[in-house]
């Protein structure tokens, strides 16, 4: 085994990332729920001008709903497949 491989293996065994890093899926989930809610509310009763600008499409409403769905998808994923409990520190 080369020096490099020994050095990296040793660092890997001391590494804290896997054990201590939080679950990103939850952050994405909540952010998109918040964004989805804001944009959906903005789109519930659009002004004539906004509607005309967006070619008559309720774009805020649709985008907001899309973002809510994405947020829910990530939260459901966390629920169904929780992160494995971190392996105890070997120190």
């Amino acid at each position: 085994m080369s020096d490099l491989q020994r050095e990296v293996s040793e660092l890997e065994s001391k590494s804290a990332t896997a054990a201590r890093l939080f679950d990103l899926r939850r952050i994405i989930g909540y952010l998109f729920l918040v964004y989805g809610a804001i944009v959906t509310i903005a789109g519930i009763n659009p002004s004539e001008a906004d509607l005309a600008k967006a070619e008559g499409v309720h774009i805020n409403l649709w985008t907001g709903i899309g973002m809510l769905v994405l947020g829910l998808f990530f939260l459901a994923w966390v629920k169904l497949r929780p992160t494995a409990p971190p392996t105890p520190d070997e120190e």
């Binding site: 085994m1 080369s2 490099l4 491989q5 990296v8 293996s9 660092l11 890997e12 001391k14 590494s15 804290a16 990332t17 896997a18 054990a19 201590r20 890093l21 939080f22 990103l24 952050i27 994405i28 952010l31 998109f32 918040v34 964004y35 804001i38 944009v39 903005a42 789109g43 659009p46 002004s47 906004d50 509607l51 600008k53 967006a54 070619e55 499409v57 774009i59 805020n60 649709w62 985008t63 907001g64 899309g66 973002m67 994405l70």
Partner: protein, 556 residues
């Protein structure tokens, strides 16, 4: 440089700014939350080699989806039409699959922490130092390009003075990478990926509606720009004239082979994401999981580009205020009401930060582990290098602010970036590919291959093309040819030098060259990695077939 027209000020309101502010808070929050995970230098620079494949895969594609790429590719669509698909389907997918299936076992298995470190193992110190320095300089330049473009775009869209947005974005990136290291950069890139999609999809849908759907779009463009504008290969026969200034051979060899393989397989800003994966299977799947979104992202930049070409027929010419780069901002202004507009502005800023953060987080790794720890201050304890990595991150961001103005002499930012890549990345690829497949390639040949390739690409671009010795119609076409020249020169010089210098002892090549294995690499596959949808070969060939199928509607 006239990058964005004045007249593009967006009608943003408090709602849009709320969305942007929430984003900034979350980005910083991820940085602080990731701080706890940094215990060793491996955590800081490579996320402790512990990330799951879906995260590294989406970060891999997001690191490439910087705003200069988005605006530049929409510009390419507005200027050259459907031919922009080449940058995705032939100019990315095959290289990403090659990285995953062929190169990743050597990269990940040899446990190198960076692309230059691989060169140190395979060749010698001169190749290592040269590539480390070239990479460090190039990433600061590119981060600078990103910041400069961001300053101009934000000034045009939101009316902030340039220096405000440069400082705000620069400090934000500085903060979250300094605090949380690569984990924080990668997590933010994944988040950015989804925000960027949420910004581009409404623009594309409303843009299509505005011009009467895909049929309306194609019939207008057929009348105004001709049939070839809507075909990927139309007019690319050798000797035929086309807007791109390249024929099928230079597209396939220059863009599809040399430029794209150089970028995707040896650019550490990309490869770093795969090296941070938790095992070899996850590392191999990283570029493959990225390949599928990459195949379809082209529609989200090409369609806005084409729509802009219909709505503003004179775009990019003297008869219009708008440049090609204005395509996406113009559609944002024309089509998006407040709310979605805030998402789009956030997505655009997110894309700028993604592009910049990828470069900064790879720069600090190369500077610390490859330059500082190997040649300047050696053999200090691990905590010292974590501290130094944080310091150099700050210095790197400040330096990139200083280099921002180098971008100003090119009309199309993509052209500028690709010129850089053709100088730095092309010889890297040739050295890697020969080094990985030819055991005999000598220790010295790596260094001379890098020098010869870089010089040949530069000579071809600045002397032969710019001085008009050979007539190539466009900068893009000249980039493709320069790349091929650099590749050939690098290969010839490597072979020639090898014949006269001594090879690396075979024992030191274990795990670095085709046909050898790293000792200790017999790690057991993780539970679930043998599922069919996690097989690298299936994913890889699936991506290639899908990209080839995508060409069919645009080829006849």
């Amino acid at each position: 440089m006239h990058y964005l027209a004045d007249g593009l000020r967006l009608p943003t309101n408090g709602l849009d700014y709320t969305i942007l502010a929430i984003y900034f808070v979350v980005v910083l929050g991820i940085g602080f939350a990731a701080r706890r995970s940094v215990k060793t230098s491996l955590d800081f620079f490579l996320s402790g080699r512990s990330m799951p494949a879906w995260i590294t895969g989406l970060a891999f594609v997001a690191a490439n989806l910087g705003a200069t790429e988005l605006l530049g590719m929409a510009a390419t669509g507005a200027q050259y039409g459907v031919a922009v698909v080449h940058w995705y389907w032939i100019g990315a997918i095959p290289a990403m699959v090659f990285l995953a299936l062929v190169m990743m076992p050597f990269y990940y298995g040899s446990k190198v922490r960076s692309v230059p470190e691989f060169l140190l193992q395979r060749f010698d110190k001169s190749a290592h130092l040269l590539s480390s320095i070239l990479f460090a300089v190039a990433s600061i330049l590119i981060a600078g390009v990103n910041l400069y473009a961001l300053g101009i775009v934000v000034e045009a869209l939101l009316g902030w003075p340039q220096w405000v947005s440069i400082v705000v974005a620069g400090l934000l990136v500085l903060a979250y990478i300094t605090i949380g290291g690569l984990s924080s950069a990668i997590y933010n890139e994944v988040l950015q990926f989804f925000v960027i999609l949420a910004a581009l999809i409404p623009i594309t849908i409303l843009g299509l509606k505005k011009v009467g759907g895909w049929d309306g779009l194609t019939s207008s463009l057929q009348q105004s720009h001709g049939d070839n504008f809507l075909s990927a290969w139309g007019g690319t026969g050798i000797g035929e004239a086309n807007a791109l200034g390249a024929n099928w051979l230079t597209i396939v060899l220059g863009l599809g082979f040399v430029l794209s393989f150089g970028y995707w397989t040896t650019n550490f800003a990309e490869v770093q994401r795969a090296l941070s994966a938790k095992n070899l299977s996850a590392a191999q799947r990283t570029p493959l999981i990225a390949a599928f979104p990459k195949i379809f992202v082209v529609f989200l930049v090409m369609i806005p580009g084409l729509v802009a070409a219909v709505l503003v027929p004179k775009i990019g010419t003297a008869g219009s205020d708008l440049t090609y780069n204005d395509a996406i901002p113009y559609l944002m202004q024309e089509l998006l009401p407040n709310g979605v507009l805030g998402i789009a502005v956030t997505g655009l800023l997110a894309a700028f930060m993604a592009g910049m953060a990828a470069n900064v987080s790879s720069f600090n790794t190369v500077f610390t582990t490859d330059i500082w720890a190997k040649y300047v201050v050696k053999d200090r304890d691990d905590a010292y290098y974590v501290k130094f990595g944080r310091l150099i991150t700050a210095i790197g961001v400040l330096a990139s602010i200083g280099t921002a103005f180098l971008a100003s002499s090119f009309s199309n930012i993509m052209g500028y970036l690709q010129t850089l890549f053709s100088f730095f990345n092309v010889p890297m690829f040739v050295v890697f590919i020969i080094g990985m497949f030819w055991k005999r390639a000598s220790m010295k040949s790596g260094f001379w291959g890098l020098i010869a390739g870089t010089v040949a690409a530069m000579v071809n671009y600045f002397v032969i093309y710019k001085q008009g010795i050979v007539d190539i119609p466009t900068d893009q076409g000249a980039n493709f040819v320069s790349a091929i020249a650099g590749f050939v020169a690098g290969a010839v010089v490597m072979v020639a030098v090898t014949l006269f210098t001594k090879p690396k002892p075979e024992a030191e090549l274990a795990g670095l060259v085709y046909g050898t294995r790293s000792p200790g690499m017999e790690e057991l596959p993780e539970k679930g990695d043998d599922a069919w949808y996690r097989k690298p070969a299936l994913l890889g060939w699936g991506a290639i077939v899908l990209a080839a199928l995508c060409y069919i509607p645009y080829s006849f």
